[in-house]
Symmetry: C2
DNA sequence: CAGCATCCCGCGGGATACTG
DNA sequence: CAGTATCCCGCGGGATGCTG
């Protein structure tokens, strides 16, 4: 997404954000991890539908971006905890704005879609 | 992205937002169209790197979601203008928060990445 | 428990060519 | 000018199985 550097992507670092947050599961994980240190299996349960593979990959990505801290307790069986960093917490805060927008307009958008679809399919195709 | 309805996606309409805004070009187009009614070819130039195909597809999607209004002037040659709707304008406003976050922390994130990569590649692999 | 490795498939999206 | 249509490929991500 940030491969081609265009004037717009330069002026618009939103693209960068989306890169960190992209993928089907990043945000879900961030939100799920927001309520405190959380273990791998906890996340696997809370972020419903995620596969073990994608959980691992996404956690690594978030850790690499400095959004998550991974703490390993060398016990048997192993215990690993993930914690949001400060900037990740800020990010989650910021996402609340988006949430509000979505909640506020979800009805409007749904209606717009139906209108559009009805218009484009007048007869019962 | 919103196919499987999980407890989290229910409680977290961010997923919905991202669905409207998903894709490589949606946000770029919204931003480019924010400065007033804009024509197809204008967008093609301003959103650098976009193909005609993806421009069309993304415009249709945004129109369907009620984020963009498409106005056709039946002249020769044809003239088509795209305008942000109110909710799209609100959305763009909201995205500013994300922008700020990105600008504020881009350095930190870049550093985190380098640290992570260095750690995982100690010798000169 | 918390992973990593492998196989596999769908679809987002690029390149290209044609049209009202 | 503003699209549509077709072909094609990479990669995000699901399923499954193995390990320290």
């Amino acid at each position: 997404m940030a491969d081609t550097v265009s004037p717009i992507t330069e002026a618009c670092p939103i693209v960068e954000v989306l890169d960190h947050v992209a993928g089907k599961w990043s945000i879900g994980i961030l939100v799920a991890a927001a309520h405190g240190p959380v273990r791998f299996t906890e996340l696997e349960r809370e972020v419903e539908g995620i596969s073990r593979r994608m959980l691992t990959l996404t956690l690594r990505k978030l850790e690499r971006d400095g959004l998550l801290v991974r703490t390993v307790y060398p016990t048997v069986p192993p215990r690993v905890e993930y914690t949001l960093t400060g900037i990740a917490r800020e990010l989650v805060q910021t996402l609340v704005g988006l949430t509000s927008w979505a909640e506020k307009h979800r009805g409007t958008i749904a209606a717009a879609r139906r209108a559009y679809d009805t218009q484009r399919t007048p007869a019962g195709v």
